[in-house]
């Protein structure tokens, strides 16, 4: 009975954060709760603490990124870690080094926290097997982007006071989106109802079996929705291959005032950024009071602070118990 209570109590005792898949409700709640504290910390004049003092955090981005990399950098620094960001997209991989050689090299530098983004699904997990430190997946191919899903959950929970039983529509290019995958899993764990709204050419196979209701029509799909999550449409997918044109996509799937009017009156709008104004979202919506897009960015730093702190502590405990 005591064990059971411990299980139910919010806790996060994992070694890595490779994805949302495999997490339990209690793990997610623990991270969200801790992140709440970090929001307060980040709003102080003095934002820095020393909980990660002496630790080394390396951000390893095989795909270029501005916001996620900055967010992780800031998160580490606010906790007092020494943060090094490496943009591998332009460096050693180009010189012919294999992924595992890069891992071995970095491991030799004795990092405590490794934040990795890579263009291939599964690459981050592969790296995690080869290093002796905590690994955080900052996006691997079309697979997962767990901190984005967590920051989205935090944003929703703060605005709607809960996640369970909310109806959340994820709209747009689900097929190519790791953000969508992580969100689908997380929201299902937390007991929300998930809808996917997209043209069928932008949906993964058997999407309905991922625990979602599928819609191809925004007006149908948005009926009774509490949260509308828009996804970014990559430029290279716009012309003819997956959808006919930007014009047609915006007409049928772009979020404008008319389509949003089918959602609940208090429905809120989210977007992981960077936005294509006029492609997937109308500027009027993006800049309106119903938009949580800027709040998401703030939550991003908080959730990453929580993840870094938890993982660092988990390794400390592990080493202590191991010693």
């Amino acid at each position: 009975m005591k064990n059971f209570e411990n299980m139910m109590k919010p806790h996060f005792s994992h070694k890595h954060l490779l994805g949302i898949e495999g997490l339990k409700e209690a793990n997610i709640t623990a991270l969200l709760d801790l992140a709440e504290e970090k929001i307060e910390q980040s709003r102080q004049e003095t934002k820095k603490t020393d909980v990660l003092k002496g630790r080394t955090q390396i951000n390893l981005f095989f795909e270029s990124s501005t916001r996620t990399q900055a967010s992780f950098e800031l998160a580490g620094k606010r906790l007092g870690a020494d943060v090094l960001s490496m943009n591998v997209a332009q460096s050693s991989i180009k010189k012919g080094e294999t992924l595992l050689d890069t891992a071995a090299t970095l491991n030799a530098m004795q990092p405590d926290l490794l934040v990795i983004r890579h263009g291939s699904a599964g690459a981050v997990e592969l790296l995690s097997q080869k290093v002796n430190c905590a690994v955080i997946n900052a996006g691997d191919g079309r697979h997962e982007h767990p901190t984005q899903a967590l920051l989205d959950a935090l944003t929703i929970r703060r605005n709607k006071k809960r996640l369970a039983r909310l109806t959340i529509a994820i709209c747009g290019d689900v097929l190519h989106s790791r953000v969508a995958r992580s969100n689908i899993i997380l929201l299902n764990i937390m007991g929300a109802r998930v809808r996917l709204i997209a043209p069928p050419t932008l949906l993964p196979a058997d999407a309905s079996k991922l625990g979602c209701e599928i819609f191809h029509d925004m007006k149908e799909g948005l009926k009774g929705v509490d949260i509308v999550m828009m996804l970014r449409l990559q430029t290279e997918r716009m012309q003819g291959a997956f959808i006919p044109s930007v014009r047609e996509y915006f007409h049928f799937y772009g979020l404008d005032e008319e389509k949003l009017s089918y959602a609940n009156d208090d429905a809120l709008v989210m977007h992981p950024g960077p936005m294509n104004r006029g492609v997937e979202i109308d500027s009027i919506i993006a800049d309106s009071a119903r938009s949580l897009i800027r709040e998401q960015v703030e939550m991003g730093v908080a959730i990453r602070m929580a993840v870094l702190e938890c993982l660092s502590n988990n390794w400390l405990k592990k080493n202590e118990s191991g010693a």
Binding site: H216, Q239, A241, P244
Partner: protein, 432 residues
């Protein structure tokens, strides 16, 4: 709308929707069918109207106007539309679907709206346009299927082009499905067809012409059918021409109601031997096949495995045909001879009139979602009167069409459209 009322009596009514052919008459007013049936004769009286005109059809066929869903135009200009309208009216065709292979190509909302806004007044018949399935008919990028459909395009096709890229074709059908759009496709594997200009076989060998095997059609058809079954999209193969293709569609149609099949009147009534001494008017796509394949097409019409007969009306100017066979332009006019040629199946192959009319009017109307192809109380009075036995020789100088590249030149056909009516108005009369 005119206030005239007419009673056409002493007619042989062909009604494909009821699968029947019976004696009777039709009462027409305000462009609509007010009443139809065996009870309408010279004595028929009604309180609904005065000034009724009684017309004796003299035992000829009175049937729904034909719906031809494969008509090429050179452009969406006024004279072209008028020309196609005249040909259609003379052939008893009251509704056509035009192909997007025009200059400019119909792949933009503005062009669809332009054609729809002007066509009806100029053509006098019901003219609907299809839109390109891929941008500029390039076979590489999908066109704006959703917006084009909203603007009034009722089907999507690359016309005489086949889409070789299977990945794209899968995406196209997937995307078309969510807009409930009808996809019409010409099937020919270009790599397999090579530079062939006629059916592969002994006759091509004798003529020394580069030829293509009929499997070039069947292979792409089977790919299409596989994807159509997978996606559930509304798929229509525009023209099949051989036994193997018939077997493929028959099999696919068993479980999949989203699949329909068309055949060109040319492949139903002509075979490769008609090419004779390199007659370029018989340079057609699909190429004319063997007599066995032609007979398979006739069986397909009888069994219903082939749903629709099209004219594949494709005007080519005289210069384009004055070349050696392999260099000559492809295509033939067909609107004016469509019904007379199809009646060959009635006169010599035991195909019932209502079966023919189903393939020539009811089925294409249903597939395109048009109010046409049947005569019932309340439907538009688009109908034709046909003398089944009238024999006539097809002479190019007598054709209404400006282009006269008919494969039936100097043939004697039995059966002739006497009058054509659209919404009760006579738009063609053979005797004037």
């Amino acid at each position: 709308m005119s206030n005239n009322f007419q009673i056409y009596y002493n007619a042989l009514l062909v009604n494909p929707a009821q699968k029947s052919t019976s004696n009777g008459g039709i009462f027409v007013g305000n462009g609509k069918v007010i009443d139809i049936g065996a009870h309408i004769d010279q004595q028929y009286k009604t309180d609904n109207a005065d000034n009724i005109e009684y017309i004796n059809v003299k035992g000829h066929v009175l049937a729904p106007g034909l719906v031809d869903m494969r008509v090429f135009m050179n452009g969406p200009g006024e004279s072209t539309i008028r020309d196609v309208g005249n040909s259609a009216a003379a052939g008893g065709v009251t509704t056509i679907l035009t192909m997007p292979n025009t200059e400019p190509i119909v792949d933009d909302v503005a062009i669809v709206e332009y054609i729809n806004s002007r066509a009806k007044n100029i053509a006098k018949i019901n003219l609907h346009t299809s839109a390109a399935l891929t941008k500029g008919l390039n076979g590489a990028e999908m066109s704006e299927i959703g917006l084009l459909k909203q603007s009034g395009a009722i089907a999507f096709t690359d016309g005489r082009h086949s889409i070789n890229n299977s990945m794209l074709f899968h995406r196209l059908l997937t995307y078309a499905k969510c807009h409930d759009a009808l996809v019409i496709h010409d099937v020919e594997d270009k790599d397999l067809a090579g530079d062939g200009v006629m059916n592969e076989g002994l006759f091509a060998s004798r003529l020394g012409l580069p030829s293509k095997h009929k499997i070039a059609e069947t292979i792409m058809l089977k790919r299409d059918l596989t994807i159509a079954c997978l996606t559930g999209a509304r798929y229509h193969v525009s023209q099949i021409s051989c036994l193997e293709s018939l077997n493929a569609v028959r099999h696919a149609k068993l479980d999949h109601k989203n699949i329909t099949t068309g055949v060109s009147i040319n492949n139903l009534t002509l075979n490769e031997f008609d090419i004779g001494e390199y007659r370029t008017f018989l340079r057609l796509e699909p190429p004319l096949r063997s007599e066995d394949d032609r007979l398979a097409m006739v069986r397909g019409i009888k069994s219903g495995d082939i749903d629709i007969i099209v004219s594949s009306h494709d005007p080519q100017n005289a210069d384009g045909k004055r070349h050696p066979f392999a260099d000559a332009n492809v295509g033939a006019v067909g609107l004016e001879t469509l019904l007379s040629a199809a009646l060959r199946l009635y006169h010599s192959e035991d195909v019932e009139l209502h079966t023919l009319w189903a393939a020539l009017s009811l089925n294409p109307a249903k597939l395109l979602g048009l109010e046409a192809g049947t005569l019932e109380i309340g439907t538009k009075a688009d109908f034709i009167i046909v003398d089944l036995d009238y024999s006539w020789k097809v002479e190019r100088s007598e054709l209404k069409s400006k282009s006269t590249n008919t494969p039936f030149e100097n043939r004697v056909l039995q059966g002739k459209v006497l009058q054509t009516y659209v919404e009760g108005q006579k738009i063609f009369d053979f005797n004037t």
